[in-house]
Symmetry: C2
């Protein structure tokens, strides 16, 4: 890893910790610069604005999540187990994002467009992951051969849907844990029954 990449990762790590602890609005670029022993000007060389840094943090989290699921897909376990693990990891990832205060960032103006482009890309990555798992399960006889092409999409959308439902109730960081616990229960029951429905 070259020095620039290394420095960038150190900045991301520091920023992630700051955002998670204090929320986007309260964190300053000065603090992050000092965490990684950089001058403010140098930090701005890497990230021209706090919004860019935040976006990079989210992007990094998403990449790590996709990588983690990729590893699970390569494991020597059943496709059903892979799908269950995916749902579990996805919830953990979502909780991490919550902790990063993704809900409180509505305060900065162009969040929506930042999110849209970030999440669109992430969506298609997720869809591919689910497609892989379903394909594998159809191939190895675990899942029905008759499953139509839209099944992965419906899984993704149902997971997103259950999450959006809960998101509406969440006011801020970590403050509504009971909703997350309820979501966990529902996701786990949903995927269990859905697996039962697609198995050969």
């Amino acid at each position: 890893m070259d020095r620039t990449k290394e420095k960038e990762l150190a900045i991301l790590k520091a920023a992630t910790e700051r955002f998670a602890q204090y929320g986007f609005a309260k964190v300053t670029m000065d603090e992050i610069a000092s965490d990684v022993e950089l001058g403010k000007a140098s930090l701005y060389y890497y990230f021209p604005a706090k919004e860019d840094l935040f976006r990079a943090v989210i992007q990094h989290e998403q990449d790590e999540f996709v990588k983690a699921i990729g590893k699970i897909i390569n494991k020597d376990i059943s496709a059903s187990k892979k799908l269950l693990l995916y749902v579990e990891k996805r919830l953990e990832f979502f909780e991490e994002l919550l902790n990063l205060g993704t809900l409180n960032v509505h305060s900065f103006s162009n969040t929506k467009s930042i999110y849209n482009s970030l999440f669109e890309d992430f969506n298609s990555q997720e869809l591919k992951l689910i497609e892989n798992i379903i394909k594998e399960g159809k191939k190895n006889g675990e899942f029905k051969k008759s499953l139509v092409d839209d099944v992965p999409l419906v899984i993704l959308h149902a997971l997103q849907g259950l999450r959006f439902r809960v998101l509406r109730h969440l006011k801020g960081r970590g403050s509504d844990n009971k909703h997350v616990i309820q979501l966990k229960k529902e996701l786990s029951l949903f995927i269990k029954i859905f697996l039962e429905g697609i198995k050969a």
Copy 2:
């Protein structure tokens, strides 16, 4: 039916047509009064504000929907068929609400609280309907006896979730039909697989 109730229904009917055709913002109380041949003062006796009238329209639609599903539940058909019909009718109901411009009503201030109280009540009615169907299916041996109590809730929340997902993309009345068609496909696939997953 007494005259007051009759008049009220006539007002609701006229208002529903107006809202569906022109949207909440563009409809005036004068127009509705004239539709049902009432003086404006008399109309205000029934509904003190346009918001009250709109709320009554939504409430009426919800009541009719719950009644329609109640009839389906009393039919001599399988619990699976009932659940499928419920999902189908629910989408039609949702399309009707869309046509009424429920999405455009964000313009009036206290919509959110109006909606919240309306929808909370509706939610618990819907949950009871689904619970009835699942209970019947468990009793007559169609569904697994082992289904846990949260299954109806997960069905309701998944349906809502899939719908919310699409709602985010809809800009206004009837304008994004392709999203509704996609939703229809997903709902139908979802409930088919879910039914497969809960059947005995």
